[in-house]
Structures are given as structure tokens and as C-alpha cells.
């Protein structure tokens, strides 16, 4: 599941849990579902990384990506 989808579902679950009308069993089921989504989101966030590449034009005029090294650090 993509992060954005998991996040959206998680938001929906948290929102649904705010209702007091929810039967207790449903509430607990939502909690289980929410906990599962939190785990998915956290995993996605943990494996997230910033990649930077530099775009350059070849002699033939084609576009090519090459790795970009930041000068600092």
C-alpha cells in the first residue's frame, strides 16, 4: 500500500473512532486496523530517502540523468 493511501485510510479510521455511536466491537476492530496502518506508515516513513540527480543534455541533444554529489558535508 502506498504511503499516501495508508495515511488517508488512517485519517479515516481516526475520524471514525471519534463517534460515540460506534458499537464497541467495531471500535476495537477500527483500533486494530488503525494500529496496522500506523505501522505501515511508519515503515514507509522510515525507508523514505531523498535522492538527487542532475539532468544534463548529451551531445546528441538527449536528456540524461547523472548522480549529483553535494559539495558540502
Amino acid at each position: 500500500m502506498p504511503f499516501e493511501e495508508a495515511l488517508k485510510k488512517l485519517e479515516g479510521v481516526v475520524e471514525a473512532m471519534e463517534s460515540d455511536d460506534l458499537p464497541l466491537e467495531t471500535l476495537l476492530a477500527r483500533y486494530e486496523e488503525g494500529a496496522r496502518l500506523v505501522k505501515i506508515c511508519q515503515e514507509k516513513l522510515a525507508e523514505a530517502e531523498v535522492k538527487i540527480q542532475q539532468l544534463e543534455k548529451t551531445a546528441a541533444g538527449d536528456l540524461k540523468l547523472k548522480s549529483f554529489e553535494t559539495s558540502e558535508e
Binding site: F3, E4, L7, L10, E11, V13, V14, M17, E18, D20, L22, L24, L27, L28, R30, Y31, G34, A35, L37, V38, C41, Q42, K44, L45, E47, A48, E49, V50, K51, I52, Q53, Q54, L55, E56, K57, L63, L65, F68, T70, S71, E72
Partner: protein, 437 residues
């Protein structure tokens, strides 16, 4: 003031003054100076710095143009159509075209300004204003064509110098927030001759490359001249034509460039731009972090409510138990006993009161008084009896005749039979007689 004494060498006027002196009035002289200046100098270009600028309500602007060694009074009349009129200010370096003349009323020579060219930063300001007005008229800044940025950009284009401060700032913020983000850098010089064309080309290249969520065009702080490329038309056009939403972040908070006006989103600085782009990812970190707490809170709250409901039900159940009924009966009995006792006490007390009342009345009712009252009544009755009795009637001469045998009073002579024995009572004594046929 005393008149000075005449010198002994004063021989009076030997020669008429008119013959040896050419006397001019002030007006004539000033007029000559004016004519000379206007003829000899006429229209000139002169450069200097504006000082002591006064804009009059008439619309005329008076100022002094100076350089290190001299000053020149200048006037810009309201009728002159000069685009930069509003940009004139103290300290502004200008190149003026005008005519040198004399303001005769004050004997002051001055420059009547016909045209103004701003120099230094001022000239750039004018160019900026001109381009801004032109592009605004074309609708390049229209709010309705601004596009919203994707909430979770995954792949963005970056137009900036690979060695500048801006790319460092952007990467610093982005890496700290750590989204899953791919950055495609299209390098461009961001200042100097040709920079504007490189920036415009980089924007187009990224559009050709495609598959990008947005393009960030950025540069760190610098002087107005340093940032100038972002105020040039090619950059504005490239941003306007970009099919991908553009974020512009040039210089510091106070710097507004044409690129900023055209872009879909303007960020105050490169760092702020990075924050805007990663805003939702950053917020989602918090949301994910808070979600667990929020959900636990909900469950706990619900459990507390359910527990309270249960306790309330349990309480009702206890009240309905038979044992409880017995308890109630016992209590009722207690209540009744108590009520009864109280009732008895109240009754006894009220009896006591009645008794006291009676005793009082009894004591007040003395026998002697009762007797006296009765005697009085008796006397009255005797009187009334006397009034009703026959004695008084008899005393007046009437008599009462009764049948001796029956003792009945006779009221009708017809009913008396012969030989019937009669008794007649008189006021004093009685007479017996026998009826005659």
C-alpha cells in the same frame, strides 16, 4: 541717520552719470543673464544625485541636483510627462535632460527638467516596474491561473546553481524532514550575463523531461543586481509556459521578483520553499505519531463510558433484588412504628389539652352563680305564667263553668244536657248547679 559730510574734494557733478555709466535695472540685468544662459547653454544633459526634493501640491517637483563639488536647482513641472516621476527621491542618482534658465524673481539659475533617466539601482527599478506592468496587463500574474501544488510530491525539478547557497538550504530542509523525494536538478547560472536565458532553458528542459510534480526555481539572497535574472522577461515567459506547477523562491523575504509574481507559489526563501514542498509529508509524520495516541485515547474513553454504564446498570439490579424489597419493607415498618408512636404522642397531648380546657371551664362554673341564675329564670317564668293564668280574667267578673262529671270546661250551652251537674268557678269561690231543660 545723519547725512555724511561732503568732502572738500567734491567738486560736484562735472560729467553727467549717464555719459560714463550704463545703469541697468535688476530686471534688465537678470533678463540679460537669462538670455545669455539660454542662448549659450540651452538644452543639456546633466548627471548627479537628487537632494532636498520637494513635491508641491501644484504637482511641480523641486529638487537640487548635486555632485561632490556643486549644486544645481532643478524643477520638474507637472505638465512634463516623465514616467519615473514617482521614483524620484533624495539620494537617487539621475541623468537629467533640461534647459538652463534663470528664475528672475529670485535671481536664481536653474534647470527646467524635460526628461529623467534613473541611474544605478534606480534604472533597474524602472525596468522592473515596466516589465511588471506589461506582464500584469498580459495576465501572467492572474490569481485564477495559479495551480495548487501536489500534497505529496514524489519527484520535483530544481532550477538553481549546483554550487549556490540555495541548493544547500533546500537539501538541508528536505533531508531533515526526510520525505521520499526524488530531486532532478537542472543546473543554471543564477546571476550575471545570460543567466536569465539559462534559467528559462532549464525550466523548459525539465518540462521536456516531464513526470515531475513541481519545479522549484530558486536562488539565495543578494543585491538587486545579483537577483536581476529573475526579473527578466525570458524567465517570466518560461515560468508562465511551464506545464508543471512552479514554485519561485528568490533572495530574502523582502525581495519580490517578476518570477515570484508569475510562479504558482512564491516562497520567501529557498528554505521556506523546501518547507512548503515537504509540508504535508512533515505534517503526516506528526499525524502518524499522534494517530496511535488518539486511537488509544478513544478506546480508553469508550471503556470508561462502558464501565460507567455497567456500574449504573449493576446499581439498578441491586435495587431490584428481593432482598432489597425486604430491606425496604423493614424500613417501611420502622417508618410506620415511628409514625404510630408519634401519632400516639400527639393524641395524648391533644387529650390533655381538652382536659385542661374543661377543668378551666369547670372552675369558672360556680354552683352559687348557677343557682342565682336559675332563680332569676324561675321568677321570669312565674311572671309569664301569671299573665297567662285565668285569675286575672276571673277578677274582672268572668267565670269558668265545667262539667262536674268530666271536669271539662263548657264552651257551648247547646251541648249542655238537662240535669247535668255543673261547677262554676268565680274570682273567689265556686258555685255548683244543675242544668234546667
Amino acid at each position: 541717520m545723519s547725512k555724511p559730510a561732503k568732502s572738500q574734494w567734491d567738486f560736484g557733478e562735472l560729467f553727467s552719470p549717464a555719459e560714463i555709466r550704463k545703469v541697468l535695472s535688476v530686471s534688465e540685468l537678470t533678463g540679460s543673464v537669462r538670455a545669455l544662459l539660454e542662448k549659450q547653454i540651452g538644452t543639456v544633459w546633466v548627471s548627479g544625485e537628487i537632494t532636498n526634493l520637494r513635491a508641491q501640491s501644484s504637482g511641480h517637483i523641486y529638487f537640487t541636483l548635486k555632485d561632490a563639488g556643486a549644486q544645481l536647482s532643478c524643477v520638474l513641472f507637472s505638465r512634463e510627462i516623465v514616467a519615473q516621476r514617482d521614483l524620484l527621491a533624495d539620494g537617487q542618482k539621475v541623468l537629467l535632460q533640461g534647459e538652463v534658465t534663470v528664475y528672475e524673481a529670485r535671481g536664481q539659475y536653474q534647470l527646467i527638467v524635460r526628461d529623467v533617466e534613473l541611474q544605478g539601482v534606480g534604472a533597474l527599478q524602472v525596468a522592473f516596474e515596466k516589465l511588471k506592468q506589461k506582464l500584469a496587463a498580459e495576465g501572467l500574474f492572474a490569481a485564477e491561473r495559479k495551480r495548487a501544488l501536489p500534497k505529496f510530491p514524489a519527484r520535483i525539478g530544481l532550477v538553481t546553481s549546483p554550487t549556490g547557497a540555495a541548493i544547500r538550504d533546500v537539501l538541508h530542509v528536505v533531508q531533515r524532514r526526510n520525505p521520499a523525494l526524488e530531486i532532478i536538478l537542472a543546473p543554471a547560472r543564477v546571476q550575471g550575463q545570460g543567466a536569465a536565458l539559462e534559467i528559462a532553458a532549464a525550466i523548459r528542459t525539465l518540462n521536456d523531461f516531464g513526470n515531475l510534480d513541481l519545479i522549484l526555481v530558486t536562488r539565495g539572497g543578494g543585491s538587486l543586481e545579483d537577483l536581476w535574472a529573475f526579473n527578466e522577461e525570458p524567465v517570466a515567459r518560461a515560468i508562465f509556459e511551464s506545464a508543471i506547477p512552479v514554485v519561485s523562491a528568490v533572495g530574502h523575504e523582502i525581495d519580490f521578483t517578476i518570477a515570484d509574481f508569475v510562479a504558482d507559489v512564491r516562497a520567501a526563501t529557498p528554505s521556506v520553499a523546501a518547507e512548503i514542498i515537504t509540508e504535508n509529508v512533515f505534517a503526516s509524520h506528526e499525524l502518524v505519531g499522534d494517530a496511535m495516541n488518539l486511537m488509544q485515547l478513544r478506546v480508553r474513553r469508550r471503556m470508561r463510558i462502558e464501565t460507567e454504564n455497567f456500574e449504573s446498570l449493576a446499581g439498578r439490579l441491586v435495587r431490584l433484588h428481593p432482598r432489597r424489597k425486604l430491606d425496604d419493607s423493614l424500613q417501611r415498618l420502622d417508618d410506620l412504628q415511628f409514625g404510630l408512636l408519634r401519632g400516639l404522642k400527639t393524641a395524648a397531648r391533644s387529650r390533655q389539652l381538652v382536659l385542661q380546657n374543661l377543668a378551666g371551664r369547670f372552675l369558672r362554673a360556680k354552683p352559687s352563680q348557677i343557682l342565682k341564675a336559675r332563680q332569676e329564670v324561675l321568677k321570669q317564668l312565674e311572671k309569664r305564667l301569671n299573665l297567662l293564668g285565668p285569675e286575672q280574667v276571673l277578677a274582672r267578673g268572668y267565670s269558668i263553668t265545667t262539667d262536674v262529671a268530666s271536669g271539662k270546661v263548657l264552651r257551648d250551652a247547646a251541648k249542655i244536657k238537662a240535669g247535668q251537674k255543673l261547677k262554676t268557678r268565680l274570682a273567689k269561690g265556686e258555685v255548683f248547679s244543675t242544668a234546667q231543660p
